[in-house]
Every structure is written in structure tokens, then in C-alpha cells.
């Protein structure tokens, strides 16, 4: 995985390239940026470069191929076990790091979703992070920098990853054979994340959302049956529910933009629907609705039953 495969992210990539060139590689990095903007890819590119020949991974030697398949004995990955990264995982990691590397110059560990370390594991990690045994390299990835302990943050070199520009996402999608129209909408809905854009195209979100939006807007409290039906349909799967919440958030944000006189809406192909909605509501009402959607999302993050959350949300939206 060479660095050139990574889209956007010039700053972090040049920092890493420079440190490879000068040999001044820190022992702990933290990559922060929205989900799906390239943190894991960059981390792998960096590690491949270090293990392979020092500047750039060649891609075809045994080392590079094994790294790409996550089969290298000196590369360790830690990901959340359920909702958290538990202290036993950290203790295992400390044990692994205390051994000499099998083949490579140093042992490397990537910690995905480092913000999901619970309090005990984060504290257990502190000493290791400050002075890792031997010549180990630790890379933490996170999309929620605010949830990382300041004591952890202080021990790492921080690289900020920005959101990928729409044009770049569109170009990438078109390059993989997706029709231009779909690519344009997916890029504008993705909010800077390549992963989201790919998910949107895979799951047919682009054609489906018009239907979902019209049904949600038409809900009213006098006809209660469609409301419960929609909640049941969308609430049987937590991911589906989250996706619906995302669609609603982007939609109401577009209405907010229209009402404030700003034309850069994300749902470019739904302009008539947006205009109709904007005409019959006010700025305060739109912000109220967005708040309702946020609250539902928070509730879902606390493991509320998705169907119930949607019922409450729809009733709130229908009422205002």
C-alpha cells in the first residue's frame, strides 16, 4: 500500500514521509479525523514503508503482501471487543510488546477506535505509551478526539486528518465505475468520508432516500397507523435506523440552508422537495427538528430500542 493510494490528506502524509526520510520516527502517534477519511490506510502505508525498505512500500515483496493481509507477526491490531477496548487486551498487548520482534526492525501496534478504551485500559496503557519497551511503534486511530484522555493525548504525536473534498470523492467513485449522477449525490451526502460514500452507493441509499423522506414528512398525528408502520420497518435494524437518522439530518440541514439563503445543499437532486418543505416551516422549527433527530441518535448510542426511538421521533416531528 503506497502513500500515493491515499486520497487527500497531504499534510499527514508529508509529515510521515519526512519522518521516514530523516529517520526521526516517534514511538507513538495518534491519527484523528472523521470515520472513513483514510487513517487506517495511512497507518498501513507508513508501516509498510518502515518494514519494506524505509521509504515506500513496494507492494509485491513477501513483507508487503503479508502486511496487506494482516498476517505479519510483528504487526498487532487492537480493536474494541464489543463496545470497549478492555484491560485484558491492553495487558496482552504489553506482553506481546515485551518480546523482541520476529523479523522486522520494530514491533508495531495499531489501536483502532482508541477512544473506546475504557478507563481502566486507558490508564493501564499510559506507562506503555510513554516509554514502550524496545523500539516499538504505537499508532492510535480515533474519530472522536474529545473522548481521548488528555494524559494519553499528551504522550502521542498528533496528526490531524481533514475531511476529503467532495470533488475528490466524486472522482474516485467515477473511477470505480459508478455513474456520474449517483457519484455526485453520494459525494455530497458523504460529508467528507470516503467510506460513507462507498456505503451510500452500495446500499442504494441514493434512490431510496427520496421515498423515505416523503413518507417521513407526510406523517401526521391524525393518521397514526403509517407512523407506527414506518417505525417498525426502519426500526428492526439498528444500522438502518442510524442511516435514516443521517438522511433526516442531512435533509433538515438542507432546509436550514435554504431558509438562510445559502444555496449549497447536499441533496442536490431533491431541490423541489426541499423548497416545498422550506416554504411551510420556519428557521426555529427546523432547528427544533434537527435537535429531535440528535436526541434520538444520542438515545440510540445508549442502546435504546431503535423502534421505540423512531416512534418517539416521528411523533415529535409530526407534532411540530
Amino acid at each position: 500500500m503506497p502513500f500515493s493510494d491515499i486520497i487527500g490528506q497531504e499534510t499527514p502524509v508529508s509529515v510521515l514521509r519526512r519522518s521516514l526520510a530523516t529517520g526521526k520516527i516517534a514511538h507513538a502517534y495518534i491519527f484523528d479525523g472523521i470515520e472513513g477519511c483514510g487513517k487506517m490506510k495511512t497507518a498501513m502505508a507508513f508501516i509498510t514503508a518502515i518494514f519494506c525498505n524505509g521509504t515506500e512500500g513496494c507492494g509485491h515483496c513477501s513483507v508487503c503482501r503479508r502486511l496487506a493481509a494482516c498476517q505479519h507477526p510483528d504487526l498487532h491490531m487492537v480493536e474494541p471487543d464489543g463496545a470497549f477496548i478492555k484491560i485484558d487486551q491492553i495487558r496482552n498487548l504489553q506482553k506481546e510488546l515485551s518480546y523482541r520482534p520476529y523479523e522486522a526492525k520494530k514491533k508495531v501496534c495499531i489501536i483502532e477506535a482508541a477512544d473506546k478504551m475504557n478507563l481502566s485500559s486507558a490508564n493501564a496503557f499510559l506507562k506503555t505509551l510513554e516509554e514502550p519497551p524496545g523500539d516499538a511503534l504505537l499508532i492510535l486511530l480515533t474519530s472522536s478526539l474529545g473522548s481521548i484522555l488528555p494524559t494519553i493525548l499528551s504522550r502521542c504525536q498528533r496528526l490531524s486528518f481533514s475531511s476529503i473534498p467532495e470533488a475528490a470523492i466524486e472522482a474516485y467513485l467515477c473511477g470505480t465505475g459508478i455513474p456520474e449522477e449517483t457519484a455526485r449525490i453520494a459525494a455530497s451526502l458523504a460529508g467528507g468520508s470516503l467510506k460513507s460514500a462507498l456505503e451510500i452507493t452500495l446500499e442504494q441509499t441514493v434512490p431510496n432516500r427520496k421515498n423515505l423522506l416523503e413518507r417521513t414528512i407526510a406523517l401526521s398525528l391524525s393518521e397514526i397507523a403509517p407512523l407506527f408502520e414506518l417505525a417498525e420497518e426502519q426500526g428492526n435494524d439498528r444500522d438502518k435506523t442510524l442511516e435514516l437518522l443521517d438522511i433526516l439530518t442531512v435533509f433538515w440541514r438542507d432546509v436550514l440552508l435554504l431558509l438562510s439563503g445559502s444555496p449549497q445543499v447536499a441533496n442536490k437532486d431533491l431541490l423541489p422537495l426541499l423548497r416545498k418543505e422550506a416554504d411551510r416551516t420556519s428557521l426555529e422549527k427546523v432547528m427544533e427538528r434537527i435537535e429531535l433527530v440528535f436526541r434520538s441518535r444520542q438515545a440510540l448510542q445508549r442502546n435504546v430500542n431503535p423502534r421505540l426511538a423512531l416512534e418517539v421521533l416521528f411523533m415529535g416531528l409530526a407534532r411540530s
Binding site: 519526512r18 516517534a26 493501564a124 473522548s147 488528555p150 504522550r155 439563503g261 440528535f294
Partner: protein, 555 residues
């Protein structure tokens, strides 16, 4: 020798090198000199200010082969082994990995034996706040009266998590945040030693990012050096650290005060395009508004704010076109948004909504003006006495009483109209609903929201709003069957039951039980109000205090 980050390479090895904690260094050095060294120390303070470093230096000073001096020599075998981390008698324990009571019991076993090569056995327990409660308790007796050859040094960022019994057995040292200038001075020293060309302004920007912590500042410095190499240009530093361009902050504030929405969305787009972190931008905005408040309130703000002359004048100019109260409200909106952003994936939208709310705030009227207006109104009121009863104090209660009066009149009129149809008397309906509710609570509560259109021995017609939940549920065959059964039992005849769907505009129909209940409640409230208002004590109180009745509640 592999590369060490600056924070590790330049960890101070003597008390003199430890920056910003002079009060602690002096105390420790005096203690060593006078021979009054405690057996248990607790070092607390924010991250990266020197706790672990001070613990190690103290250990070295106590064990140094040249005698217990105020500074370790750093050349004797004892000092070198402690610096390298492999001294046999200095145990650096990670409190977060060895949290259990068994680890502490092992430690206590170990304590009995005299040190092998040094003067003392020193236990440095870092992140001590993570020890379990049992572990803390197991440590208590040992901590209170350890053998003479043992010293304990605890270090933690969270002293509030340590039981008070442990705290009272230690000598506590609170490490302060390191002032900006001291961090800059140390960075300057290190950059000279590392032969790096960097301006003072860039060093100040880096030091400011450290936010009182030396390690944070050094990590930032490492990042800058990785990006820029040995010669650092100022614009590269600001670009790398995501320090938001001050111009953007000014423009945002300007757009908010001018109450214009489109420029706000434009600016947020620019912030996003330039790759700044939304939350950081919000924090910088809060800082900017805080600066505006400071400039409004103080004469010589240059001491309190770390800004250049030109920026101060611009700030002063912007601060004149906004009220202090408005600024406070803007800041509270931003603070709320910032904390929401911490745990959300839509930080950009949260910021945009916050900015829109700020722009649509009605301008705050100063409190003095409001008071003056009230006084003026009071003067008017004493001059022309309004007729009693019209100036009803509580608007909601007035509306409620009017509404209840109108509904009461419609009820009385309707009952006179429909009297011949209700051959089974009106009073039967509530009794029937109560009967149903006793046996099947769910059916009963649904019936309560229905309007009894026709209640007779032959048929029962109940109206519900179109599309309502009760209507749909009662049409269910099981519910219908149960209801039919209960109706037969109550009326002792077999009336047909019909559920009617009513449109919203059915104003002249008999009210449902729920509505009757609410009307009754309103009537009761109006009754209470009349009583309260006419009570002599209340009237006297109103007169003496010149007040208005705001709310009447039954206790």
C-alpha cells in the same frame, strides 16, 4: 541508538533542570539537606508537568553514591542505573497495570528485605489512582510505618480518586501548570541544543498549544520538526497546528453581529475546506468572544490578552458595536454547542445551528432600562384604576375560564337539544365506562376518549377522531367481542355498537369523558381563583407589595 522523541530525550535529570516547579524542588532539596525526608510522597498535578521526572530525580538524589546531596551527580553507577531504568532497588510500578490487592501483597513481602546495593528501597507508583480499593487498604499500614530503608513516591493526575486515609499518610506536593514564558524558554534552550532554526513567535505558538504542559509542548515541537525539518517557517507552524486564522474569527463575529445568515454558512464552509477541526474552531471562537468581553470591561487589556497591538485595536473596534449582555448570551450558546460537539459526528451542523441562533437573538435590553420602563408603567396604572375583573392577572387562567364558560354553555344547550334521544339517561355513559374500565382497563381508557353520540337501549354510537389510535384498536374483532359482552352485561339488553369516525370539525357533539374531566378541572381552577382573589388577606398583600397574581395552585 534509535530516535527518541524530544519529551524523552530531554527529560530533566536534575532539580535545576525541572522547569516551572521551583517551589517543589526547593522544598525537596531543603528536606534532603536538613535530613527531614518523609517516607511517603504524593506528587499530583496535570499531565506532563514533571511528576514522574521529579520522582526519578528524588530517587537519584536519595540513592546517590556521593552522599545524599541536593542534586544527583548523574555519573555514579547508582544514578546511571536509575536513569537507565534498571536499578535493582528502585521499583517503578505502573499502578494501572498492577491494580490488584495481590500485587500490593507481593510488594509488602518484598519490602522486608534490605536493599541490595543502594541506600533505600524506593517504590515509585505511577498512576496510583487506578489501584483498587482493596489494594489501597492493603497498603495503609505499610505506608504509615514502613521499615526505615523504604521510601514511597506516588504520582497521579487524579488525587480525588485516592482515599483520604492514603492522602493523610503522604506528604503531598501539587505541581502547577507551567507558565507560557517558562515553556518558551525551555523550548528555546532545546532548539539551540538541537541546532534548529526557529523564531520566537513560532516557539510561542507551539508553547501555547502545550496549554501549561511541558510534554504536550514538546510533542507539538516534535510534530513541527517532523513536518518542517531543521528550519522552521512560521506559516508552516500555523498551518500544521491548525491554529485558526484570526481573520476568520473576526469575520464570523462580524456576520453574527450583522445578523446575516449566508456569510455564516460561507465561513463555516471555508473553515471546513481549510481542514480545521470544527470543535477547535468553536473553542477559538469562544476565546475570541471572551477577548471581546475583556476589551469591553478593562482599560489596559494588553496585559490580560496575549495579542499584538493591531489586533487589540481591531478587537476594541468590534467590541463597541455589541452589548455586554449579548456577548454573554453568545458565549453561552457557543459553550453549549462545544460540549455537544465532543460526542457527535455532526459537529459542523451543530456549529452552524449555534451561529444561526446567535444571529437571531433579539438584542438584549439592559436591565436598567427594563426597570425604568416598569416604573413608568406602574405610574400609569396607579393613575387610571382599571375596572375590577377585566385586568385578570394570569392570561392562561383567563383564557381557561372563558373557554370553560363557553363549553359549559354549549353543553347545557346540547343537553336540552338531545334530551329526547338519550332515553337511557346521560349519567349511564360515565357509569358504563367505569364498569368497562374495572373489567378491562385498556378498553375503558379508550372509551374515555370517545364521544357518546347516542346512548340508548338499542344502540350505542361512539365517535372518535378520524384515524385515531383508539378507533383503530376498538375495531379489532377481539376488542369488539369483549366490548359487546360487557355492554350486554351492563345494559342487560343487546344494543348494537357502532364506532363512528369523526372529522376534526365536530364542534357540536357531546364531549368525551376525557374532555369533561379537563373542563371540570378548569372549572375547579377558576373557582379557586375567584376565591383567592376575593380573599381579604390576598387583597391586602397585593396592595402592600404592589404585586400581581402569577399562579394559583392547590396544595
Amino acid at each position: 541508538m534509535s530516535y527518541l522523541v524530544l519529551a524523552r530525550k530531554w527529560r530533566p535529570q536534575t532539580f535545576g533542570d525541572l522547569v516551572g516547579q521551583e517551589h517543589i524542588c526547593r522544598t525537596l532539596q531543603n528536606a534532603i539537606e536538613s535530613g527531614r525526608v518523609a517516607h511517603a510522597f504524593l506528587f499530583t498535578g496535570a499531565r506532563g508537568v514533571g511528576k514522574t521526572t521529579a520522582a526519578r530525580i528524588l530517587a537519584k538524589a536519595l540513592e546517590c553514591e556521593k552522599g545524599q546531596k541536593t542534586e544527583p551527580c548523574n555519573v555514579c553507577p547508582s544514578c546511571s542505573s536509575i536513569t537507565a531504568g534498571n536499578a535493582a532497588d528502585v521499583f517503578e510500578i505502573d499502578g494501572a497495570s498492577n491494580t490488584g490487592v495481590d500485587d500490593i501483597r507481593e510488594l509488602r513481602e518484598n519490602i522486608k528485605y534490605l536493599p541490595s546495593s543502594c541506600r533505600f528501597k524506593i517504590f515509585i507508583i505511577d498512576e496510583v489512582h487506578m489501584l483498587s480499593i482493596s489494594a489501597f487498604n492493603a497498603l495503609l499500614k505499610t505506608l504509615e510505618e514502613p521499615p526505615p530503608h523504604v521510601k514511597f513516591i506516588f504520582a497521579t493526575t487524579e488525587p480525588h480518586k485516592i482515599p483520604v486515609t492514603i492522602l493523610s499518610r503522604c506528604q503531598r506536593f501539587d505541581f502547577k501548570r507551567i507558565p507560557l514564558q517558562k515553556i518558551v524558554a525551555r523550548l528555546r534552550y532545546i532548539s539551540e541544543q538541537e541546532k534548529i532554526v526557529i523564531s520566537d513567535l513560532a516557539l510561542t505558538t507551539i508553547a501555547r498549544k502545550g496549554d501549561g504542559s511541558m510534554r504536550d509542548a514538546l510533542s507539538t515541537m516534535d510534530q513541527v520538526l517532523s513536518f518542517c525539518g531543521d528550519t522552521v517557517a512560521e506559516n508552516e507552524v500555523t498551518a500544521l497546528l491548525g491554529v485558526v486564522d484570526r481573520r476568520l474569527l473576526f469575520e464570523t463575529a462580524l456576520a453574527v453581529f450583522a445578523r446575516e445568515y449566508p456569510p455564516l454558512f460561507d465561513i463555516v464552509k471555508r473553515v471546513d475546506d481549510q481542514g480545521y477541526n470544527m470543535r477547535q474552531y468553536c473553542q477559538e471562537l469562544i476565546g475570541h468572544f471572551r477577548n471581546l468581553v475583556m476589551v469591553r470591561l478593562t482599560k489596559n487589556s494588553s496585559e490580560l490578552l496575549d495579542l499584538a497591538e493591531g489586533e487589540l485595536t481591531e478587537l476594541a473596534g468590534q467590541a463597541t458595536c455589541v452589548q455586554l449582555e449579548d456577548l454573554q448570551r453568545h458565549i453561552s450558546i457557543l459553550l453549549k454547542a462545544e460540549s455537544e460537539m465532543a460526542s457527535s459526528s455532526f459537529s459542523r451542523l451543530i456549529l452552524e445551528m449555534a451561529l444561526v441562533k446567535m444571529s437571531s437573538l433579539a438584542p438584549a435590553v439592559p436591565v436598567n432600562e427594563i426597570l425604568a420602563r416598569i416604573k413608568g408603567l406602574e405610574g400609569l396604572q396607579t393613575n387610571c384604576r382599571p375596572p375590577a375583573g377585566n385586568s385578570s392577572p394570569g392570561k392562561p387562567s383567563a383564557a381557561g375560564s372563558l373557554a370553560s364558560e363557553s363549553i359549559n354553555s354549549t353543553i347545557t344547550s346540547k343537553t336540552t337539544d338531545k334530551a329526547p334521544e338519550h332515553t337511557v339517561a346521560e349519567g349511564e355513559w360515565p357509569a358504563f365506562v367505569a364498569y368497562v374500565k374495572e373489567r378491562k382497563a385498556r378498553l375503558g381508557s379508550m372509551l374515555e376518549s370517545g364521544r357518546p353520540l347516542l346512548v340508548s337501549a338499542e344502540s350505542l354510537r361512539i365517535g372518535f377522531p378520524a384515524g385515531s389510535f383508539s378507533l383503530i384498536s376498538l375495531k379489532d374483532p377481539d376488542a369488539m367481542q369483549a366490548l359487546t359482552e360487557l355492554t350486554r352485561q351492563f345494559f342487560r339488553t343487546n344494543p348494537t355498537i357502532e364506532m363512528v369516525s369523526l372529522s376534526v370539525e365536530a364542534a357540536d357533539l357531546p364531549p368525551s369523558l376525557l374532555e369533561e374531566k379537563s373542563i371540570e378541572a378548569n372549572r375547579h381552577l377558576a373557582e379557586l381563583e375567584r376565591e383567592a382573589k376575593s380573599h381579604p388577606t390576598v387583597a391586602t398583600a397585593l396592595e402592600i407589595f404592589g404585586g400581581k397574581i402569577v399562579e394559583i395552585k392547590e396544595i
